[in-house]
């Protein structure tokens, strides 16, 4: 699709859409950006890659006017600009899709989309009809399939991501910043997104694209900038590098080769689930008669498009949601156990949404170490919290799991998303779990950390850990799982052999293609 | 009254010629609301003002209680007055009972007076108490005599024993005239919520309710909420009875004309009497009851609205004074 980019009139190409020079941004204790330089040509898809916390999002927020640089110059279409707020950037034709959703759950899609640039009638009233029409038009034109009057909270992540893109298009942006737009999408959705991007680029738009999925980056980008620890380290041509080289540029050292996989599956049952049914508030079965068994040393992968009951399934197993059916942990029927008892019984839990379920953002790291393990050593002695024990063990986790932090007394909110995730993984692995329920364990985590997390999972599996892995990253699912099941509308619809399946095949099984026939 | 030797006051005589000793610095501690509450604190203030001008006293010191305070704070207030050289010290309101007793013991040379309480006794404590039920009896009788619908109302500020005394007297008086009369009665708030004395809006709603239910005379013992009662009476073409002071004089001009009579509780007289006896060096410790006999409580005749029933009221008054009628102090 690079032909599309080439078809742009040359005089426009000559002029860079975005130029950043000498951008520096300091946060307390951290320099997020240092003397960064970036040049994005008009009509290009320009990718930015870098480790977690490298400063990519910060740089983009600066470009979008959400944060002001301490030093440096921003030029849009050759003119220097100084945005005081996103308003200025929007006026200059910049739109941004943020790494974390910028949506109000309790407002409708329409309200979220028009917010800040509402079509009006009679001066102050919102012209809902005009807005609805325009949203429909954009949605149809790009095949986004968005229903303007739904509440955002009713949408799955994929749909939310499309709403975010619609927001930008609605404002008629000419320069699009997409900060990890694909983290939550399945391959088909990613492919659709890329098709859309190509159309946009074809219309002369410029796209800045951030992703940790280097293969995606290579497939879609016209140019790549690598950022390491707040500095620009390289400007590369996607046709001239491999994913591996790119990864090495990011982390600044040579990556070891991937280890080979051999099965550690035993025939001792660790977790078995039978006839599990979870009802949504409206009475519909969100999880419908699900049954499976995980043995010691086995990783059971659950593949499925987001919103097909994975979250409910996981929460039911953790005892956070009422469910029918039986769950056995080894020989014990734990169906009626409380969440705490299940955790004490040896179930570890890496939640899908680390901010909601995994961390106390305003508590220091060592208190976060205690969370979910508050009744066990080394965090507690009887009814008492063992502060020394918890602190010591937090130091250990930070070391062993490479949690990059100034210390264990900083609030969890101060860590980058990837480092937060490493802390959670470290914590859950430290509880000597028999079974680990891992939901998207590497979402938003950079390649280096991702590999580290996988290694930890593999090592624990070799020691007999049973893992239930839910992920949207099909490479991860295929690479880690010993057994794979596909979930669709709350039901297990297929068993797949991970050693024989391709991501594309898996993707089509997930969307139910061919199910009817 | 227990312990104290009970005496009966002599009614105040205007235009005293007694020469005032200079330097009698009066300290006065009000209950919540203080001077300007257009209710019983104001009555005490009136007595103080009168004493000040007639006895030529130096500037007195007046302190006011805060809502929700403890006894310790009241105690401290009295003590501050005593230590700062104020003598005599007058405490307004039964809440000062405990504090007066304590502080008076600490300052035997200072004379204390407490209004509305006979429980705090001591050699240097004068208790000024009122027979509110007797006065209320008379206005109750007036209400019954004036009611054409045989239906009268009582609005109390806060349901405490003191205000229930008003209610008891009022009911007895009304019943004495017409034993089948309907008496509606309602309090605006419950202790320790004392907002009932400060909520004219509630006073109005309650009185409206009574008037809609047939009452044509409404008596209030609700302090500042009374203005709402008057308004309701005005709008509902009913009559109202004021309390403490002669409210046909003090109420707002727009509603004055509905005040048929008022139950006078002559706090001003009591305070003035006490200060005068202090000046004369004749302070008597113990309880002084301001009742009908000494005109410590009474009904007002301003506006002439009760002129036609005055004879009957005087008759009742005589019977109470003579002891022929014993007015109950508590309801039921």
């Amino acid at each position: 699709m690079r032909e599309a980019a080439i078809s742009i009139p040359t005089e426009v190409v000559a002029q860079p859409a975005v130029e950043l020079e000498g951008i520096t941004k300091r946060f307390p204790g951290v320099v997020a950006n240092r003397d960064i330089r970036l040049m994005v040509r008009r009509g290009h898809v320009h990718a930015i890659v870098g480790e977690n916390g490298a400063g990519k999002s910060t740089l983009m927020k600066i470009l979008y006017g959400m944060q002001r640089p301490d030093e440096g110059v921003i030029k849009i279409n050759g003119d220097p600009v100084a945005f005081r707020s996103p308003e200025g950037a929007i006026t200059a034709g910049i739109g941004m899709v943020h790494q974390h959703f910028m949506l109000a759950d309790n407002l409708t899609v329409l309200e979220n989309v028009v917010l800040g640039s509402e079509p009006r009638k009679g001066g102050i009233a919102i012209d809902f009809r005009a807005a609805r029409k325009k949203i429909k038009e954009i949605s149809d034109a790009y095949g986004l399939g968005i229903e303007p009057d739904m509440l955002v909270e009713e949408l799955g992540v994929g749909a939310r991501q499309r709403v975010e893109i619609l927001k930008v298009l609605f404002r008629g942006a000419r320069i699009l910043i997409l900060d990890e737009p694909t983290a939550v999408l399945v391959p088909q959705e990613v492919e659709e997104l890329f098709d859309n991007l190509r159309v946009l680029v074809g219309q002369g738009l410029t796209i800045i694209f951030i992703s940790h999925k280097l293969d995606e980056v290579l497939s879609v980008a016209d140019a790549i900038t690598v950022i390491r620890r707040g500095e620009t380290v390289a400007e590369v041509d996607p046709s001239a590098v491999t994913a591996r080289q790119l990864a090495e540029l990011m982390v600044g050292s040579e990556l070891p080769s991937p280890e080979t996989r051999d099965s550690t599956v035993t025939d001792v049952v660790a977790l078995s689930v039978e006839g599990l049914t979870v009802r949504a508030p409206d009475g519909r079965a969100a999880v419908d008669q699900v049954a499976f068994t995980i043995h010691k040393g086995e990783v059971l992968g659950i593949a499925g498009v987001e919103g097909n009951g994975q979250a409910e399934l996981v929460e039911a197993i953790m005892g956070m949601r009422p469910a029918d059916g039986t769950i056995h942990l080894a020989d014990a029927d734990i169906s009626s156990w409380s969440t705490l008892r299940r955790r004490e019984g040896g179930i570890g839990y890496i939640p899908e949404d680390r901010h909601r379920h995994g961390l106390l953002l305003e508590a220091p790291l060592w208190e976060n170490r205690i969370l979910g393990h508050q009744t066990r050593r080394p965090n507690a002695k009887g009814p008492w919290i063992d502060r020394a024990g918890a602190r010591g063990d937090t130091e250990r986790i930070a070391r062993e799991y490479d949690v990059r932090t100034p210390g264990i007394d900083v609030d969890a909110a101060a860590l980058s998303g990837g480092n937060q995730q490493k802390l959670i993984v470290g914590r859950e692995m430290s509880g000597d779990p028999v079974v680990l329920i891992a939901s998207h364990p590497t979402r938003g985590v950079d390649v280096g950390a991702q590999a580290a997390i996988w290694d930890h999972l593999r090592a624990a599996r070799a020691d007999g850990l049973a893992v239930l892995l839910v992920s949207a990253d099909l490479d991860e699912l295929i690479g880690l799982s010993d057994t794979l099941k596909v979930i669709l509308r709350g039901r297990i619809v297929a068993d797949v052999d991970p050693s024989a399946v391709t991501p594309e095949q898996l993707g089509s099984a997930m969307t139910g293609a061919g199910e009817e026939s | 009254a227990c312990g104290g030797d009970s005496t009966t006051a002599t009614p105040a005589e205007g235009g005293s010629s007694a020469a005032a000793p200079t330097g009698a610095k009066v300290g006065l501690a009000y209950d919540i609301g203080g001077r300007g509450d257009q209710s019983f604190n104001d009555s005490a203030a009136a007595g103080l003002d009168k004493a000040k001008s007639e006895l030529k006293l130096p500037d007195p010191r007046e302190l006011t209680a805060s809502p929700g305070e403890t006894e310790a704070q009241k105690e401290e207030r009295l003590r501050l007055l005593a230590t700062s050289g104020y003598n005599p010290v007058v405490a307004v309101g039964f809440a000062y009972s405990g504090p007066v007793k304590k502080v008076a013991a600490e300052f035997p040379d200072v004379k204390f007076a407490i209004v509305d309480d006979a429980a705090a006794t001591g050699p240097n404590i004068s208790n000024l108490v009122f027979a509110e039920h007797e006065g209320s009896f008379l206005v109750g009788a007036a209400a019954a005599l004036k009611s054409t619908k045989n239906n009268v109302g009582f609005v109390g500020g806060v349901q405490v024993p003191l205000i229930q005394k008003f209610e008891a007297g009022f009911a007895a008086g009304a019943k004495a005239v017409n034993k089948d009369i309907t008496i509606q009665s309602k309090y605006l708030s419950q202790p320790p919520e004392f907002t009932g004395f400060n909520d004219p809006a509630k006073g109005k709603t309650v009185a409206e309710g009574m008037i809609d239910a047939g009452a044509d005379v409404v008596y209030h013992a609700a302090g500042g909420s009374g203005s709402g009662v008057f308004e309701a009476a005005k709008a509902g073409k009913a009559q109202a009875i004021g309390v403490d002071a002669d409210q046909a004089l003090t109420a707002d001009a727009a509603v004055k004309d509905v005040v048929m009579t008022s139950m006078l509780k002559k706090l001003d007289v009591a305070v003035y009497d006490f200060l005068k006896s202090f000046a004369a060096g004749t302070v008597k410790p113990g309880t002084t009851v301001y009742d009908l006999k000494v005109a410590g409580v009474d009904y007002s005749v301003t506006g002439g609205k009760v002129d036609d029933i005055k004879d009957k009221l005087e008759e009742y008054k005589q019977k109470i004074v003579s002891g022929e009628i014993k007015v109950p102090e508590t309801t039921s």
Binding site: E344, V410, V447 | P192
Partner: protein, 392 residues
């Protein structure tokens, strides 16, 4: 942001971590600000600010005033603790007022009727108070846990209901005994043997400090230990910080709501005890009301920290006390209320300002270090040696 930075005051100030002279700056700034505002108000109304402050200070350090300040503070402290427990779990117990009034009334009634040896009776009275407070607050907890009723509404409503029920109980037909000659009405007095002994702590006055101050201090320690050293306290704070994360970690939030309200109510049940067992020995019409609302202000002023609450309670009670001397000198004592409101606001604003100043300073420090060539940004968790690779 270094882990060693800060100490005691940091923890007092909660979120804000301060170091060095800055730790003193916040409270100083606040007091200065409150003083300035008050001075302006005084000046506008023709009173001399400095003379006024001097008067308050002079009066405040007299032995008797000190005792009173301690005594009030004891009560305020308990009220502050009761509110703070709820706050730590994001529960706004606005109903401490009703809880302590009902508790004190019933405890006083029991104390006046039950015949027991003194010390035992004290224990029984306190226990009744604790129990009643807990049960009354428990209604709030139960409604929230089982029916999802907002604790703010239910506790506001239960305050009013407590007033009505209390007034009903405090009638001669039930718990009250009329006293001859008095217009007051109260419960039967608690026998002298069960009066909580006070201390002659401050020389120069015969007034005694409430013995209950010891209980209050113990409660403060218990509060601290419970919240920071026990699993229960951890669960409580975790729920306060993020309910969803607490649920995922195995906390039964409904149980926690109930337990927290019960504890908060139990402490609220003690609020009336210093006064009841140390001064009035009976619950009557003039029993102090509204302490629950003071407790909210004090808990907030003390940032829900046991020592902070103590400081807040002392400050509050000092100001309350000094209003008497102002009144005596003819200065409107309402100035004290204005001062209290201003202090609450300015303390909090000052902390915020100092916090921001510190952030800016930190930023400058980092940039200085970096231009000095020390290099290396956020990484401290050892050298980054990523293992594994892109799985393709």
């Amino acid at each position: 942001m270094s882990p060693a930075a800060g100490g005691f005051l940091d923890r007092v100030s909660g979120r804000v971590k301060l170091t060095g002279w800055l730790s003193l700056a916040a409270p100083l700034l606040a007091i200065l600000f409150a003083a300035v505002i008050t001075a302006v108000v005084l000046l506008i109304t023709g009173n001399a600010p400095f003379a006024t402050f001097a008067l308050m200070a002079e009066y405040g350090v007299q032995p008797r005033s000190l005792v009173l300040t301690l005594n009030f503070a004891t009560t305020y402290y308990l009220a502050g603790l009761a509110v703070a427990i709820g706050f730590r779990m994001n529960l706004f117990n606005i109903g401490v007022d009703g809880q302590y009034r009902l508790a004190a009334l019933l405890a006083a009634a029991v104390g006046g009727t039950v015949a027991l040896p003194g010390p035992l009776l004290i224990v029984v009275v306190v226990l009744v108070g604790v129990l009643v407070g807990a049960l009354w607050a428990g209604i709030v907890g139960l409604l929230k846990a089982t029916r999802g009723v907002s604790e703010v509404i239910s506790s506001i409503m239960l305050n009013a209901i407590a007033t009505g029920v209390g007034a009903w109980l405090l009638t001669p037909a039930l718990l009250a005994v009329p006293v001859a000659g008095s217009n007051n009405i109260g419960t039967r007095p608690i026998p002298e043997s069960a009066h909580f002994p006070g201390f002659a702590l401050i020389p120069g006055t015969t007034v005694k400090v409430f013995g209950f101050i010891v209980v209050a201090i113990l409660m403060g320690i218990a509060y601290h230990v419970l919240l920071t050293r026990t699993v229960f306290g951890f669960d409580l704070r975790a729920t306060g910080r993020s309910e969803s994360a607490a649920v995922a970690s195995g906390v039964n939030v409904k149980k926690m709501v109930l337990a927290t309200m019960l504890i908060s109510g139990a402490v609220a049940g003690m609020v009336g005890m210093p006064q009841l067992l140390g001064a009035s020995y009976s619950y009557s019409l003039d029993f102090p009301a509204g302490l629950g609302f003071t407790g909210i202000a004090i808990a907030l002023l003390g940032r829900n920290h046991p020592v902070g609450i103590a400081v807040g309670a002392l400050l509050w009670s000092f100001l309350d006390n000094s209003s008497n001397i102002l009144d005596l000198e003819g200065i409107p004592k309402e100035i004290v209320i204005i001062m209290q409101g201003t202090i609450v606001l300015s303390v909090i604003v000052a902390y915020e300002l100092v916090h921001r100043y510190r952030m800016a300073a930190e930023q400058r420090r980092v940039s200085r270090e970096l231009t000095g060539g020390t290099g290396g940004s956020g990484g401290a968790g050892g050298t980054a040696t990523p293992e594994g690779a892109v799985s393709r």
